[in-house]
């Protein structure tokens, strides 16, 4: 206990001295730090904050210190997180390298691969994207057909991916490719890493109903990739792919965690409190006058609190270093549904002021609510649809029988 108390004290002192003032305010969308070769910092404090956190490995607190991580144990990481929240510190670095690739690379990558990539993820030097879904392979991900053929010690990759988040801004991609077409679909997939600057790669942003374009179509035309970039064994990429999905779900479930909590960095003041917004727009002072909306908001906040306790319990129950398990599907599903509820309630709270698209008559918070409400509809589709998550819970957690023949559905085996 004593060393933990010491750790808490020194952490608090360090944060006090090193977290710039402007990094202790609610995050605004344009200032989220993704890192990468072409990283831009709208606020110079963001750069400073990233450099200071990365130097201690605290962008990846539990990763081994020998690869640049923080080397913290579970208890210390919890304390660090509490201390960051205490001062409302912004997330120093947001990255798919941290939330998805890094954990599986540490589990399944070769020492050379770890040495090459992990320190750059910690430092935010390389920005990663995820090459998973394809036009014909959505929920049935394992049916993917982008092919990689080996000639000498080089793979040639042809095909296309879709829903590649920020492919147009990423430096490297972790990608699922088919390396054997003559075996059951799960048995011919490999997991490979390559530089997005390689010749033969092109990307095309997809405009969403929200007006934003966070996703791309990505095309591979005779892209050359060294054989040593294959992670794990040839044709055994599916197990790595599924493991990474568990990490992805854990990340997405955290969207739900910010729901209903006003003390969390990452949301603007308007988004932080649905009930305050609802009262503000109705001119209510002590009690929300719309009794039905009041009840729904209370129910939402109760579910959000219950969900936050469940996320906390899941961390307490997991063994040191074990990472997420099948319950990540439950957390992902519930977190996404909560986030969607949150935006529907915010829309109700704002009334016609939540229905603007652009231009005068609406302030930027109001317009952000409209756009994020539309964006939130993807929460229960990306990272595996809610229906796929329920399938996984039914089969893997509850042990219910699989009606489809073995291995057809994503995640069924």
């Amino acid at each position: 206990m004593q060393s933990l108390e010491k750790f808490q004290k020194s952490t608090r002192e360090w944060l006090q001295a090193n977290c710039p003032e402007s990094m202790r305010t609610a995050m605004v969308a344009e200032e989220v730090v993704w890192g990468g070769r072409n990283a831009s910092f709208k606020n110079p404090d963001s750069k400073l904050w990233l450099e200071r956190m990365a130097a201690r490995g605290w962008t990846c607190p539990t990763w081994p210190a020998e690869y640049g991580g923080g080397g913290l144990n579970k208890e210390e990481a919890i304390i660090l997180n509490q201390e960051l929240r205490r001062i409302n510190a912004r997330v120093a670095l947001t990255s798919f390298g941290i939330s998805m690739l890094g954990p599986v690379l540490l589990e399944s990558g070769s020492v050379d691969q770890i040495m090459e990539h992990i320190p750059k993820i910690v430092a935010g030097e390389i920005r990663w994207c995820q090459g998973y879904s394809e036009p014909g392979s959505g929920s049935d991900l394992a049916s993917l057909s982008t092919r990689a053929e080996l000639h000498g010690d080089t793979y040639t990759i042809n095909g296309s991916k879709v829903w590649t988040s920020y492919a147009d801004q990423a430096d490297w991609i972790f990608c699922l490719v088919r390396t054997d077409f003559d075996v059951p679909k799960h048995a011919g997939i490999s997991f490979i890493l390559f530089d997005m600057a390689s010749p033969g790669i092109s990307t095309k942003p997809i405009q969403l109903i929200s007006g934003g374009s966070p996703f791309c179509e990505t095309f591979f035309d005779d892209v050359k990739v060294p054989e040593r970039n294959l992670v794990g064994r040839l044709n055994e990429g599916w197990s790595i792919a599924k493991r990474l999905l568990q990490h992805e779900r854990t990340m997405i479930s955290s969207f739900g965690l910010s729901s209903g909590q006003s003390d969390r960095g990452g949301t603007t003041s308007m988004l932080a409190s649905i009930e305050r917004a609802a009262m503000h727009y109705r001119g209510d002072t002590d009690r929300l006058s719309d009794a039905v909306l009041r009840d729904r908001i209370a129910q939402f906040k109760i579910d959000s609190a219950a969900f936050a306790y469940t996320s906390q319990r899941s961390i307490e129950e997991s063994k040191q270093g074990q990472g997420p398990n099948a319950t990540s599907s439950m957390l992902k599903n519930y977190g996404c549904e909560l986030n969607k509820r949150r935006y529907e309630l915010l829309m109700q709270a704002l009334g016609s002021q939540g229905l603007g698209w652009e231009g005068d008559g609406f302030d930027s918070d109001e317009l952000q609510v409209t756009r994020q409400w539309l964006r939130s509809k993807a929460n229960s589709i990306e990272g595996g649809t809610s229906e796929i998550q329920l399938n996984i819970i039914a089969k893997r957690v509850l042990g219910l029988p699989d009606i489809m023949s073995a291995g057809k559905a994503q995640g069924s085996k």
Binding site: A306, T310, R313, M330, I393
Partner: protein, 382 residues
């Protein structure tokens, strides 16, 4: 805050589980119902529960209890929920002993708590006057008379009211009917002149009573806590009981869900197990998720009760979160318990109906989901 059981709590849970499965299974409740048992619970089983220390679980050692905290009492309640044990655990231990411990004078605690721990004394809380829970809607009057008071009014839904030796009566000593000011609590013998108790048979086969007080004379030392200022203390006692009740509900919910899962894995139609149908799988997976949230809020609320760092506001919020959430989920899961079992779920011979009946009583008792959502909103100033 620890949301997982510690080693002591886990051992307690295991022993409570084997006790309930062996000595107080659902068939015991069925027997009490079928024999129209006058007590409404099995006194031998209650004595054994007392011998295991369950009546003194959360009572401080200074008053003969075992100081296991509410975390300890909670795991016991969870296991009694699994087999629908009917006992004075809710009425006497969770409500009355808590009230005496929280509000009583040193003398009252010294006199009464050891007797409750020893199983010698049953006490019931006479609170509600209407068909919905409203702790400040008290019309029962307490009029000053000499050194004492005269109680008059009527109470309903008093758990174990017909077998309790003592009653804790919430009465209005001043103020208007809905005011939180002017409430006083009295600890009185159930046999006093002017008290008329009639047992009511509830749908869950447990006991409640309607009680009338006609010009009941009580002495000044019957006061539990301060005169006119009883509400805040009562509210805290109710929150503790709401959390304990939520723990019991958690046990029942998990039991129903496990029975559903067993059925889905054994019942065949169209030549295959019905558990392979996606329509049922998704409903089961949704219930699982909700139940995981229930476990977390119950653990958090129980841990909160044992954490001296928690404020009164924290506990009130935790209690309303727990009671609202558990009430909603018990409603859904108990309904699915019938529907997913199909025709057999509708038969009295099959046990699942007992859980549906208990669900509605437990949902309602100490405030249903809408009561607690309203309360949660008020606690959060909206």
């Amino acid at each position: 805050m620890a949301l997982v059981l510690n080693e002591d709590q886990q051992l307690l849970k295991d022993s409570a589980q084997s006790f309930c499965q062996q000595l107080a299974p659902v068939s015991l409740l069925r027997r009490l119902r079928d024999s129209k048992d006058e007590t409404g619970f099995d006194r031998d089983v209650w004595k054994q529960m007392v011998d295991l220390g369950w009546a003194g679980m959360a009572i401080p050692e200074a008053y003969g209890g075992y100081g296991f905290g509410y975390g300890g009492l909670g795991v016991v309640l969870e296991e009694t929920g699994r087999t629908l044990v009917s006992s004075p655990l809710i009425s006497t231990v969770l409500l009355a002993a808590t009230a005496i411990n929280e509000l009583g004078s040193e003398e009252q605690k010294q006199e009464l708590l050891p007797k409750i721990v020893a199983g010698e004394l049953l006490v019931a809380l006479a609170l509600d006057e209407n068909s919905s829970h409203a702790p400040s809607r008290i019309g029962t009057k307490a009029e000053k008379s000499g050194d004492g008071f005269i109680l008059s009014g009527a109470k309903t839904f008093v758990l174990d009211g017909h077998v309790a030796q003592k009653l804790i009566v919430v009465a209005r000593s001043s103020g208007e009917i809905d005011s939180r000011q002017g409430l006083s609590l009295f600890l009185v013998d159930a046999g006093l002149e002017g008290i008329a108790i009639s047992r009511t048979h509830m749908v869950d086969c447990r006991n409640a009573a309607k009680i009338e007080f006609s010009q009941v004379e009580v002495a000044a030392d019957a006061l539990l806590g301060e005169v006119d200022a009883g509400f805040d203390g009562l509210d805290k006692v109710l929150d503790i009981a709401r959390i304990g009740l939520a723990a019991e509900m958690l046990g029942s919910i998990q039991e129903v869900f496990e029975r559903i899962l067993d059925f889905l894995k054994t019942r065949e139609q169209f030549g295959i197990l019905i558990g392979s149908f996606q329509g049922l799988q998704h409903r089961a997976a949704t219930m699982y998720s909700e139940i995981e949230l229930c476990k977390s809020v119950v653990r958090a609320a129980l841990a909160g009760l044992d954490d001296s760092g928690k404020s009164r506001q924290d506990i009130a919020e935790l209690a309303s979160i727990a009671k609202a959430k558990l009430s909603e989920v018990f409603f859904e899961v108990s309904n699915e318990g019938i529907q997913m079992h199909g025709g057999i779920g509708m038969t009295d011979e099959f046990d699942i109906g007992f859980f549906l009946k208990r669900a509605r009583v437990a949902q309602h008792f100490l405030g249903d989901a809408s009561f607690h959502r309203d309360r949660y909103a008020s606690l959060n100033n909206f």
